[in-house]
């Protein structure tokens, strides 16, 4: 075979390489995003989202089997946000007068099971698992969820364009939800 190029194999390897690279870029994006939030750099987090972001946490209810499509409400949300409302939330948290984060709660986002589904380099669908540790005063709580995101390629950089958080909880186990999951 020496001297001959197996184009099919080269293309396949390139494709695999491309997919690995995209997976790595997505993972680095999600880790960076989590780091900013964990460190309460909430205004910097706004730079990672698109101007037309759609962010929501639908309320979950326990229903009979066969109603899986209705488990997460299409009308009722723990958060239902656009850029303006997210920006207002972050300005409040950053402003020094938000009692609920004074002092800051201790929070950490553990992101795992990152699955990338991409039809193009410009729109990347990502599903990930989230384990969110939250502690304030003597309270310590966990929130578990699946996140389905759409990342958009904006001028060569990934940005969060859409996120829906599917909670494993019917009643939130924490006294308040001050910041995004």
């Amino acid at each position: 075979m020496g001297g001959h190029f197996d184009m099919e194999k080269i293309m396949k390897n390139a494709d695999v390489g491309h997919r690995y690279e995209l997976q790595r870029r997505v993972e680095q994006f999600l880790y960076k995003e989590a780091e900013l939030l964990d460190r309460w750099k909430v205004m910097a987090w706004l730079d990672l989202i698109t101007a037309d972001i759609d962010y929501r946490i639908p309320i979950r209810t326990t229903l009979e089997n066969g109603h899986e499509d209705e488990l997460f409400s299409s009308q009722a949300f723990h958060m239902v946000e656009d850029y303006g409302s997210l920006s207002a939330r972050m300005r409040r948290l950053d402003g020094g007068f938000a009692f609920s984060e004074s002092p800051r709660s201790r929070a950490r986002r553990h992101i795992s099971n990152i699955r990338v589904n991409s039809q193009s380099d410009d729109i990347v669908e990502v599903t990930s698992n989230l384990l969110f540790f939250w502690a304030r005063d003597e309270l310590e709580r966990l929130i578990s969820a699946e996140r389905r995101d759409v990342l958009a390629n904006v001028d060569g950089e990934l940005r969060l364009a859409r996120r829906t958080v599917f909670l494993d909880h019917v009643a939130l186990p924490i006294p308040n939800l001050t910041v995004v999951l």
């Binding site: 326990t62 009722a76 409302s85 920006s87 207002a88 939330r89 005063d137 308040n176 939800l177």
Partner: protein, 457 residues
């Protein structure tokens, strides 16, 4: 949270609860509330028995179960019930426990059922609670009279303007009498349009490490806390100062002693049209037909109302925004502080909007509601941790050993200039300022009376 079990009912030594029941009346007259009532295992158990099992308790809104067979699982105190619109279209509140071994029938939050089936041995009940199916009945339960073994149910169920209540005490006064004069205020929130208010989607639910009374106490009319705790809201412009700024404005009033319920109301000047901030497209559909002139005039001037219907149903009606660059939008939220053990509550919150409002308005107002009063609400985020702090201190030995009492004296003689409005068109004892705490003393007086009833005090 670890609970220290305190208090003992022994003959020689009167329990702390006996002592409380003897002394709290005079404490309240002085505007004092013992701190430990906010977290005590014995007192909590007594509250379940004397308050939640003996008074009307809110269960659901009729718009949550519009069709025959629709049901929601809801507690009375901590007891599990199913609120169901039966095949006969009648709403019942069935005890969620099979008559055979007591197993749970309903493991879902809501749905539409043709029957309730116990998975343990297969006993089956209709949506009216009747026992319909018993496996092997002919050989195993030959003599069973099925008509005697239907599901237990709350003996009293009634509705007021869409709000479904139930009572476990068959001798409780009629709901209309229990809500009493406070109906005058509820009407203003629920009777604005012909279609009334309807619930959007499903309620928010979240756990707070605080006593249920903290929620009732706050919404009864804690007008004093907004300027301190919620100042960040004003800083970023999610609310007007009129709706949630400093208390003590000339149009701010407190409704106390209104059949045991209370409310805090902020208004605009006479003649101004406010309607909480509903836009003209919505308030033009409000009609005065179901209201008195006094009620409609108050609605017209209203900026915000909060209130508590004893024991644990509260509401807020307000116009706010999720984004200072978008217009304010008004909504009504009913919220219930469900007891979940000593020093623990589960908050439930329903967003209600006029049935006639457009879908666009409803989506806009729902967004404003989530951004302000919900577990992620920019207002509400701040309250829950405060209440946890109260609960923590209330659990202390020191609170009991030193007899620590909280100050509820605002509005009393020598504290603030709170005068009763003699020309007020509505019921209750209404003060011309919201710098007073009669609203919260009303809640505790009613609580004290309810706790004493049936006791040996």
């Amino acid at each position: 949270m670890t609970q220290v079990v305190k208090g003992s009912h022994s003959a020689e030594q009167p329990s702390q609860i006996d002592e409380l029941m003897r002394t709290m009346g005079s404490d309240l007259e002085q505007g004092l509330v013992p701190l430990w009532v906010y977290n005590d295992p014995d007192l909590y158990r007594l509250e379940l028995e004397r308050i939640f099992a003996r008074n009307w308790v809110f269960m659901a809104h009729e718009s949550e179960i519009p069709r025959k067979g629709d049901y929601v699982s809801r507690p009375i105190g901590e007891d599990p019930f199913i609120v169901v619109r039966g095949e006969d279209d009648k709403i019942r509140v069935l005890f969620d426990s099979c008559r055979h071994r007591g197993a749970r029938l309903c493991s879902t939050d809501k749905g539409n059922a043709r029957h309730f089936h116990c998975p343990y041995h297969g006993w089956t009940y209709t949506t009216t609670g009747a026992l319909k199916g018993v496996p092997n009945k002919a050989t195993a339960f030959t003599g069973l009279d099925q008509s005697q073994w239907g599901l237990h149910e709350a003996p009293r169920v009634d509705s007021y303007r869409g709000l479904i209540f139930a009572a476990l005490d068959p001798n409780v006064m009629p709901l209309k009498e229990f809500l009493g004069d406070f109906c005058w205020y509820l009407d203003i929130h629920l009777g604005l349009t012909e279609g009334g208010m309807e619930v959007v989607g499903v309620p928010h639910r979240w756990h707070i490490d605080a006593d249920w009374k903290s929620g009732s106490d706050n919404f009864a009319g804690d007008s004093y806390h907004t300027q301190s705790l919620h100042q960040s809201i004003l800083h970023i412009g999610l609310s007007s100062r009129a709706a949630a700024g400093a208390s003590g404005g000339k149009n701010d009033i407190h409704v106390t002693e209104c059949s045991g319920h209370s409310s805090s109301i902020r208004r605009k000047d006479p003649g101004e049209i406010s309607f909480w901030g509903y836009p003209p497209e919505v308030y033009e559909r409000f009609n005065a037909d179901g209201l008195t002139e006094g009620q409609f005039e108050l609605a017209k001037r209203s900026v915000s109302h909060t209130g508590t219907v004893f024991p644990n149903l509260s509401f807020i009606h307000i116009g706010v925004t999720d984004d200072p660059d978008k217009p304010m939008a008004a909504y009504l939220s009913f919220r219930q502080w469900q007891p979940k053990g000593p020093g623990r509550l589960e908050a439930w919150s329903w967003v209600l909007l006029p049935k006639e409002a457009s879908d666009e308005y409803k989506a806009r107002a729902y967004k404003a509601a989530v951004a302000t009063f919900s577990p992620s609400g920019n207002f509400e985020q701040d309250d829950s941790l405060i209440w946890s702090g109260i609960t923590r201190a209330a659990n202390s030995v020191f609170a009991r050993s030193a007899g620590l009492r909280l100050n509820y004296q605002m509005g009393m003689s020598g504290m603030s200039n709170a005068d009763i409005m003699s020309d007020w068109p509505g019921p209750g004892v209404v003060y011309d300022t919201n710098l007073e705490e009669g609203v919260q003393r009303t809640f505790f007086r009613h609580w004290y009376e309810a706790m004493r009833r049936g006791g040996a005090f």
